[in-house]
Amino acid sequence: MSVNSVPAVELRHITKRFAKVLANDDVSFTINKGEVVALLGENGAGKSTIMKILYGLYHATSGEILIEGKPTKIDSSKDAVNLGISMIQQHFSLVPPHTVTENIILGTCKGIIDYGTKEKEIQELADRYDFNVSATDYIRDLPVGAQQKVEILKALYLNAKILIMDEPTAVLTPQESVTLMKFVRDYAEKGNSVVFITHKMKEVMEVSDRIIVMRNGRVSGCLEKADTDERELARIMVGCDLEEVRSHHTSDQRPKKERLIVENLSVEYKNEVPLLSNINFAIHEGEIFGVAGVSGNGQQELCEAIYGYLKPTKGKVILDDEEITTLDVRSHIARGIGYLASDRHRYSMIGDMSLSENMLLKASYLDKWVHKGVIDRKKLDDYTKDAIKQYKIKAPDHAITIGSLSGGNQQKVVVAREVDMGENLIIIDQPTRGLDIGAINYVHKTILNEKQKGKSILLVSTELSEIFALSDRIAVIYKGKMMGIYKNGELTTDEIGLLMAGYEIDSAKTGGEDTEKE
C-alpha cells in the first residue's frame, strides 16, 4: 500500500437530502489504491447512499468528489463506469430471464451482438478467476452465490479499479463468504480498491485495511484495522446509548405458565440459505423475551412465521396449548396476537387512511367495531380519540391521515393498535427505530405495562440498550439460528456483541433452553 500516492477517491463534505430524510450529513473520507475499506454501520446509517452517490445513481445535494485528486462530476452510472468505478448493489442488478453473458455486456456494446465471441470472452474471464459460472446460464436458474459472481464478473469485465460491494455476504453461506474474502484480498493486492459495505464486524476484521463507521448519516469513526478489535467496533456499532441501560427485568422469579412455544421452527427453501433453522424457545406469561441480533439475520421471518404470514417449512408454533402453525393470519388475529412489524409503512399502516381507519386495520373481521358488516364509526372514533389522548399522539383529530403525522406519532398509533389486538401475545419488531427519545420512552413504558398485564411479549430489536432495558430473557439470533438464550444480566455487552457477530462464547453460560451450536 503506497501511502504517498494520490487517493483513488476522495469524498468531501457530501450531504444528501431526500424529500423525507437527510441520508448523508457532511460525509468526508478517502479510498486509497490497493486498499480494502470497510464501511460499517447499522441499516439506515447512510452507507449505501454515499456509495450510490459515488456511483452516480444519486446526486449529492452538496459536496464534491475527487477522483485521482481531480474534482469530478459523476452524473450517471455511465460516468462512474468510465472512471473505473463499479458497484454491486445489495439487491443484485441482474435481469433474471437473461443469460450471464447478456447481463454482463448490458450497456457496453453496440450494434449486432456476436454472442459466440462474447460468451467465449466471458467464460475465459470466469475461468481465469476460478468462478464456477457458465456464460450461457440463465440468471434465474443460478443460486444467489453464483449470481453474485456474475455481478463481480460484470465489474471485472468493465475493468473496474474501484469496486464497491453493498452487503455482499448477506446472502452467502460461510464457505462462499470465505471465497469472496479471498477474492477481495487478491483483487486489492493488484492495486485496486474495494469498498466493502457491511454491518458485520467479523467480516470487517477479516478483510479490511481500514474501517469507516457510519451512524445516522455521519461518519462516526475511522480506524486502521491494526489499531482496533471487535470489542471496540461492537461498542461503536451499538453506539453510546449503552450508558442508558436500565434493568427492568422482574425480580419475581416464581415459575409461570408457558404461553407461546416455538419448536424446531424452520424456514428453508431449496437452493437458498435457510432463513430460519430449528428455532426453539418458549415465552411465559408476563414475560418479555428479547431477540437481539444484527438486522437481516432472520428476525422478520421469525415474527412472520409465528404470525402466520410466512408458512414455516418445519416445526410448530403453539399458543396456550393450541397449535397455530398452519393457521392463516386472520385466525392468528382472532386468537389475540398482535404484531408490530418493523417496516411500518409497508405492513402496519395505510398512509392515505385516517387514524380511525388505521385503528381498524386488523379488526375488519372482528366484531370489535363492526356490527353486521357496518362500521360503528362513533365507537371507533371514540376509541381512536382515547388512544390519541392516552398515548399522547400529536394529531389534531382522529380523521387526519396517518401519513401526515411524524414517524414517532405514526408508531404510537400502530403500537396502540397492536398492543390492544395482542390480548395474549404481542410480537414486536424494532418498536423504536427512528423515534426520538420521548417517543422511545413512551413505547418502552407501554411494553412494560403490557407485560404487567400478564401478556407474553416477543421483542425483536437491533438496539442492545432496548433489549437490556426491557427483556427478562435474551436470545441472540445470527443467520437464522439462535446463538443461545440467556437471562438478562447474565451477559455483558461485549459478549452479546460477539454472539451477534457469530462468535460462540467459550463458557457455557446457558440460562434458558439449550444453546444451538453452529
Binding site: 456511483y55 452510472s77 458497484m87 448493489q89 442488478s93 435481469v95 448490458l106 451482438i113
Partner: protein
C-alpha cells in the same frame, strides 16, 4: 379449392395490420410500456392515412401521414406516462376517447358531410414474378400488397433486433429490471419513450391499412376494437414477433371465416360467433396460458427518488 385459397389469402391479407400493430406493441412492452392507447393510435392512423391519400392521391404520402399521426398520439401517451408518471391504463383510455372525438370532428372539418361516402382506390396487390405462379402458395403469399411484404420483413427484423442486438438487449432489460438497466448506465425513460413512439408509428400504418388497403374509405367505426386485438396478440405471442405473426394469422383466419360464413350461407354457426372469435380466443388463451413470459415490469412506471 379456390374458395380455400381465397379464404387463406384473405386471412393473410387481414392479418397484416394486426401484425404491424402487434410488433410495435411488442417493442414497447419489451421495455415495460403497455401502449394502451393503441386503439386510438390505430384510429388516428386510419384517419391520417385516408386524408393523405384522398388529398394527394399518393399512397406514400398517405402512409407517411398515417405514421406521423400514430407517432404524435403515441408521443402524447409517452409524454404523459413516461415523463408525467400517469397510470398507463387510465391514460390510454383517455387518449382513445380523445382520438375518437378528434378524428370524427376533424374529418368533418375537412370534408364536411359528403352525400356519398368518400372513396379512394384501394392499394393494389403486387404479384411477385415467378413466385406468384407457384400453385397455392403463389396466390396466397406472393400476391399481397407492398405493406404486407414489408410487414413480413419487419417481423424478422424486429425479432432480430430484439434478440440479437445491443439495442434489443437494452429494450428487454428496461422491461425486466429497469433498476438494473439504470445501474448499467441506460436512460430508462428515454428508451421507453422512444419505443412507445415506434409502436405509434407502426400502429399508425396499421390503422391506415384498414382504409387504404382494405375498405378504400374511412368511417369512424373502421377500427372498432382491432387495436385491442393487436394488443392481445402481443400478450398471446409471448412478446415475440414471430409468435405474434402466427396468432395474427389465426385471427385473420377467423376474420376471413366470418366473411365466408356470411357469403356462403353455411349458417351452422352464426356470423357473430366468427366476429367474436378473436376476442373469445384472447380471453381463453389469456386464462389458460401458464408459461407467459411477461416482462417483469410491464405497466409500471419507472420513477426514481432523487
Amino acid at each position: 379449392m379456390d374458395v380455400v385459397i381465397s379464404l387463406i389469402f384473405r386471412a393473410i391479407f387481414m392479418s397484416t395490420p394486426l401484425i404491424l400493430g402487434a410488433v410495435g406493441e411488442i417493442i414497447a412492452e419489451r421495455t415495460g410500456m403497455m401502449v394502451t392507447a393503441i386503439e386510438g393510435i390505430f384510429l388516428s392512423g386510419a384517419w391520417g392515412g385516408f386524408i393523405g391519400v384522398y388529398l394527394t392521391g399518393s399512397y406514400t404520402v398517405g402512409f407517411l401521414t398515417a405514421m406521423l399521426c400514430g407517432l404524435a398520439v403515441a408521443m402524447l401517451y409517452g409524454l404523459t406516462t413516461v415523463y408525467m408518471d400517469q397510470h398507463q391504463i387510465v391514460m390510454g383510455t383517455a387518449i382513445t376517447i380523445l382520438m375518437t372525438g378528434f378524428c370524427k370532428f376533424f374529418f368533418r372539418a375537412i370534408f364536411g358531410t359528403p352525400t356519398t361516402p368518400l372513396k379512394i382506390e384501394p392499394l393494389r396487390v403486387i404479384k411477385i414474378p415467378v413466385l406468384s405462379d407457384i400453385p397455392i402458395v403463389g396466390p396466397i403469399l406472393f400476391s399481397q400488397n407492398i405493406i404486407s411484404y414489408m410487414t413480413y420483413v419487419l417481423v424478422f427484423a424486429a425479432g432480430f433486433i430484439i434478440f440479437k442486438t445491443s439495442l434489443g438487449l437494452t429494450l428487454r432489460s428496461c422491461g425486466e429490471n429497469p433498476e438494473a438497466a439504470d445501474v448499467a448506465g441506460i436512460n430508462v425513460r428515454r428508451v421507453r419513450f422512444w419505443s412507445v413512439a415506434v409502436a405509434g408509428g407502426l400502429g399508425g400504418i396499421a390503422g391506415a391499412y384498414y382504409c387504404i388497403c382494405n375498405a378504400g374509405m374511412y368511417s369512424a367505426e373502421i377500427i372498432s376494437g382491432r387495436g385491442w386485438i393487436a394488443f392481445g396478440i402481443c400478450f398471446l405471442g409471448n412478446w415475440r414477433p414471430f409468435s405474434g405473426l402466427l396468432f395474427a394469422v389465426a385471427f385473420g383466419i377467423s376474420d376471413a371465416l366470418g366473411i365466408f360464413a356470411k357469403t356462403s350461407q353455411i349458417g351452422f354457426l352464426p356470423t357473430e360467433f366468427f366476429n367474436a372469435l378473436p376476442y373469445i380466443l384472447i380471453i381463453v388463451l389469456t386464462i389458460c396460458r401458464k408459461n407467459l413470459k411477461m416482462p417483469a415490469n410491464l405497466g409500471t412506471n419507472y420513477v426514481k427518488e432523487n
